[in-house]
Symmetry: C2
Subunit: 233 residues, 2 copies
Amino acid sequence: MASNTVTDAPATQSKAQLAYAFLKARISDGTFTPGYRLVLGQIARDLNVSVVPVREAIRLLESEGLVTFEHNIGAQVAMHDETEYLYTMQTLSVVEGVATALSAPHVTVDDIARARAINAQLIECLNHFEPHRFTALNLEFHAVLFENCPNPHILDLVHRGWGRLTVLRDSTFSFVPGRAHASVREHEEILELIEANADPLDIELAARAHRTRTLDAFLAYQENKHVQESRHS
Amino acid sequence: MASNTVTDAPATQSKAQLAYAFLKARISDGTFTPGYRLVLGQIARDLNVSVVPVREAIRLLESEGLVTFEHNIGAQVAMHDETEYLYTMQTLSVVEGVATALSAPHVTVDDIARARAINAQLIECLNHFEPHRFTALNLEFHAVLFENCPNPHILDLVHRGWGRLTVLRDSTFSFVPGRAHASVREHEEILELIEANADPLDIELAARAHRTRTLDAFLAYQENKHVQESRHS
DNA sequence: CTCTTCCGAATCGTATACGATCTGTGATAC
DNA sequence: GTATCACAGATCGTATACGATTCGGAAGAG
């Protein structure tokens, strides 16, 4: 009866979810670049579904800010000016900060150990540097620290922030590899704060500053690049 | 050509938006109480539209957390346990705090004057206390202080927080009228911090604490009520 | 040569239709 | 009397269909 391609779990998966996953994947991996026009009928044909579920998926992505939508015009992958990255990082610095602080009391010694192991991999990664891998590990590290946040709204905001970030820029560390060294050091500092049952506000501000510094490093790099470019002209 | 009932602006309003506004209004004013089953066909008939736009509106409301949705089962107005209010207030305290701090440098003397005027109305309101009016003015006051926030994401989160709050509880001050007096005093303190160009972090924490205290007051009231109830039994 | 106007193709928004799934009720077995 | 099963009504999910709107290019006026 339930004859599905792979497993039975997604057998009950709606076509809307299928379309959503399809579009999100294509946007994330860069197949659909910012500004790309998302035509309902075309996508529907590609997926062998009707336009209705595709439409639903697009509206969902719109509410997450990954695509923009205009009445009677259609959808396109959201365009990002440089400020977009700035705003997303700033927002994430705030929500990830509180999430980490609220999570701290629920972090077990086992969690700390796992985080240290991941940070060790990050340090090891510094030698033969791969920005993409570094960023993936970096998320893993922070996820251990904020996933215990008891407030589901804040946790959701953190997830959305990371989601947007991966769409906006594959890895900040591609641009500012130097930041990676400081980053792993700060990770250890944050771990020590949590271990010491530090004041939640201290943990929050440390986590926030950690992210803000990555942002600042990128902004400084960009500033510098612009200066160099203007010298050539 | 564009012959509409009232104005021309909503002439281009889609039926999906109509359904969205209709549902949101009914949920906010309490016609549809938490747990109320939202049947697509029924709502569609009431609005003289088909189920498609209604469905779209409901999915939007779902993404905002106002309704819950289950595959092949349907939607109902989101149920709120007590923790829901707690989590929403906590989240709002954080995002409103940063929004206020980020907004502060862009607040003009004129804005400050407007805020003071609103706070004066709040003080005046303390005599013949109407919780609903007080809450509306309270939002107006804070809106003046955070609307200048340059980060659109954070601003959006603040708006969503307030939106959820009005759905969850008409007015916290109905339960804890005593909190209103302290509240208006803290308003003045926040205004003075902004006027003095205080450290953004100080402004942020003041704004955050202001909201947290309202939450704490409610929790204390509730605690007290439960104690009294258990005495009767 | 340039600007305006008009028309057709492409796409969107929504109505209708129909198969799939769930829920509750009544009949049957133990 | 209770538990299980089957069936019917209700509702959901999606396909198809069609009017409405937009956009781009061709035709014509200046």
